[in-house]
Symmetry: none
Subunit: 220 residues, 4 copies
DNA sequence: AATGAATGAGCGTTCATTCAT
DNA sequence: GATGAATGAACGCTCATTCAT
């Protein structure tokens, strides 16, 4: 009985996952509103009606996607961040794992990117929760960096969070919409470098450039 | 006759603009696929059929939105960039005008953000064209900055473009989805500062980089 | 005043005819239900609304077509028939002029053929009237032929009428739907020959064929 | 299982046929363009959407009508023609079965007559194929008749085909549009008689043709 | 008289959801 | 639990007709 129950649960879970993954694949290719339940059912190898045994509605699939699948991924981010000590290393790890995971599951990435940019978000609550999860990690890193002295103390943390997540998002977005299949994860280090050092030329400005004073004046 | 003609043209254009604006309002609130032609017609104060005198289809409204309305805005960006000389000023102006314009027309901003992040984009061509327009401006600024010596020469410009546009995008997105109505445009200067200087503390970098004192002074 | 009135009537009639002809052209190409008032207006070189100054409705155009245009043609048939004396010559003239007129105005022919074969006929009354006009001519010819002795007296005239008009119709139909532009009018003589003599081989059957008696038995 | 499968297939086919027949009934009464899917659905006793489980579109119903239903009937024609040997008997059988079948299913006949006389035919390909089927049968009969010597050798077969099919068509058409419900099939023999012997009085032709006495005897 | 912009009823079609098997 | 046929509400779009100019 016990054993049978495990099997059944596993079976049940299997089909749930199969449908969820099928839905992600279809949503990624067609977009949520373009996609039909029939397409998802076909991709999952089940009957249309079967989907309603595992999900309350089409919307519910998206909600489960965010509260189940992507939440797991985001929780992995936190673990990856714990592995190193310095704030800058933590930021590096976060961005690297973020790009790696999204590169590993392109369809997940696509659905994530699309849905988080909707206005009327079906999975509004889940997205907000997850977004907070991510932003909190970044906040903690920045605060640690400031405490360590490795990050500027004059930063508005709320803006820095957006600055970081936005740049990462866009790099992913560009990768998703590009035809060529370049390596997304390799963007991690250059990105971290940009976050830390910015685009401004500190060295050159300092040593060699004329007009430095003017620039300085402007940027105060 | 002349006068009548002007009036008629104006009327025609008026109704076109009225429908377009109504559509943007509805799309912003409901999302493109949720929105119905009837809602747009009601919002515009015309009959459903009237919309088809000015637009070929529902999709066409979105296409016109991108090739008409937002294109104008993006061309303004270029003008605003021309007004100043240094690369860093240009970047500042670009980001300021971007945030200002998007703050000025919240619904436009919403539709823009939503549609540019879709997978199957109805206005694909228009978005690509506009995206290129923006990226080109940023590219030119970065290249000028590198020539001037105000920006690092070891930058991968393709990444810097995404880094900048992504952060701006996310800042807008956060503003769009926030309940409180804070001032978006005021984010421009801090953002530029982040782009230029990064989050890293020069104090730490000091060990490796010359020029610490000057930057530290500015940063207090 | 008198003169002005004539001019006006002429103008009015001109536009009426122009619209009617335009409608026929469009109906012929697109079919009545496929055709739109806008297309007719464009073809006639008038505004959509103008059509409603001359015709009560779209249906009314078709009604006028039958009660006006084709009626005139069918009345010409009667005149052509009068020009000769013998029944067989009259039949020949009828069929010749019929094919000639329909060849001369291909679009009129098309609309005529299409509409007379509808079930729910918009111009039901007009078609019935015209059909009667034609059938009456044929009836008279057959009756004269019988009186003259040039046509069989054992004919069911109701059937003969259909037999003749049907064959003519089909010959026209085939011509209308064929790609090659052969000469329709040249079918008149062979058709009359078929009507008169049938396909049966009188001479040969009589002289050379075996099995003649059997055939005879069967056909009584 | 076997049995269940048969039942299911039967059910599926049943509904397909039910919808097809319902559509024919509605098309016959209203005409194809006047008829709505809702009317067809109501007549078939199904929901509107159900129709699209069996037919791709409204047009497809008409296409299936021609490629399924009427094709079967026309193939029966060929069989009926095979049952007898002489060309004239074959022609008689063809016309008899044609009239019988069309009388048996008045609505089918109506839709057939209407659609085959359209200009822009939705089921163009199917109609052309079927038309060829019929014309080929007639051609073969005429050629056989000529070989046998029972039909004139100076006939233009292309014209004879139209001559025959046209007369049959018109007889059907007249029956369809008449109010009184006379027996259509009874027209078969008189029609064949007209085809073979024509309307001309052999007595007159006598001067030119041999074999008069025999024919005269048969004709009294 | 002539225009043509505006109307809105109406239709073909889709698809999320249900439910009998 | 699994199926997939059936449903019917809903939507984009068309076009005959009207009417202010």
């Amino acid at each position: 009985m016990e054993w049978e129950c495990i099997i059944k649960t596993k079976d049940k879970n299997d089909k749930y996952q199969r449908i969820l993954q099928a839905a992600i694949n279809v949503f990624a290719q067609q977009g949520f509103y373009q996609a039909t339940i029939s397409q998802v059912a076909k991709e999952a190898g089940v009957a249309d009606g079967t989907i309603y045994l595992y999900f309350k509605s089409k919307d519910d699939i998206l909600i489960q996607f965010f509260s189940d699948k992507t939440k797991l991924i985001f929780e992995r981010f936190r673990e990856e961040v714990k592995k190193v000590n310095s704030a800058i290393d933590k930021l590096g790890n976060l961005i690297r794992i973020h790009l790696e995971e999204f590169q590993r599951d392109r369809n997940m990435a696509m659905v994530y990117q699309i849905e988080t940019h909707q206005n009327y978000r079906i999975a509004e609550d889940q997205i907000k929760e997850m977004s907070k999860l991510y932003l909190d990690i970044v906040s903690e890193i920045v605060e640690q960096g400031q405490a360590e002295g490795s990050m500027r103390r004059d930063l508005y943390v709320g803006l820095v969070k957006r600055f970081i997540i936005g740049a990462v998002d866009e790099v992913i977005n560009t990768w998703l919409h590009s035809d060529s299949e370049y390596d997304l994860a390799s963007m991690a280090q250059p990105l971290v470098d940009l976050f830390i050092r910015g685009v401004g030329n500190v060295g050159e400005r300092n040593n060699r450039l004329p007009g430095r004073e003017i620039l300085q004046a402007r940027m105060t």
